[in-house]
Symmetry: C2
Subunit: 111 residues, 2 copies
DNA sequence: TAAATATATCGACATTTCTCGATATGTCGG
DNA sequence: CCGACATATCGAGAAATGTCGATATATTTA
């Protein structure tokens, strides 16, 4: 993983509301009502549901989500007038792995 | 992992120099000269070596490292007049795991 | 095509972070 | 105890981020 990308991902994860969104999206069924239009959560959750739950303004959340998509940790899919957001688990795994020190192999406590 | 702690860790990792320091400390032997006093890297690297390599001022780096230690991703050990910093691999692993979605089990591509 | 709804973008101001030089504190060697 | 060196803290100005309301754009439906 490229340092520049990793820094951008870090920025997305450095704010409690954005981090909370990442948590909610781990398990949309348990954090959001079913959507009136789509019957599944395959593409995640629409912006307005995230907005309502967040307590921040629509414009703020829209910008957050847009930046999170720009760096790749979220994937956006449009269905009609709704934008659905879901986690990009592959990139998150890459980032997560990048943070670890592969030199350690399995982590050893009490070196 | 607590959301508040995770947010603080995210802030530490949201700056390219701090992220770079985390990278250097994965493998001190290959990024820093041997210390004049200590013959090993068991406790990491002293502040001044990190400072020199970073290109930022001593006060900036001191503050960076202090904050990184405060949230726990670095561990500081004093030896005489030197402070040595090393990665807290255990906490980094916890954070890294927190980011992942355990609901997925092993990650599946192409859902 | 006009109204309604969902989302995106803009401009502005408040808050936080970045970053420095100056200075304080801690520690060793003489 | 004093001078030298390592690190920490302080105060300040610059830059970035947070956050909003207003407005623009897109899409569906009447």
């Amino acid at each position: 993983m490229d340092m520049k990308l990793a820094t951008e991902i870090g920025k997305c994860l450095s704010n409690s509301v954005r981090l909370q969104i990442m948590e909610w999206l781990k398990d949309p069924e348990n954090h959001f009502p079913p959507h009136e239009s789509l019957k599944h959560f395959n593409d995640g959750v629409c912006v307005s549901y995230i907005h309502e739950k967040s307590g921040l303004s629509q414009s703020t959340i829209s910008t957050y989500l847009s930046n999170m998509e720009k760096c790749g940790i979220l994937i956006s899919t449009r269905h009609g007038k709704w934008s659905y957001l879901k986690r990009n688990e592959v990139l998150i795994l890459e980032y997560s792995t990048f943070l670890l020190n592969e030199k350690n192999g399995e982590i050893t406590i009490n070196s």
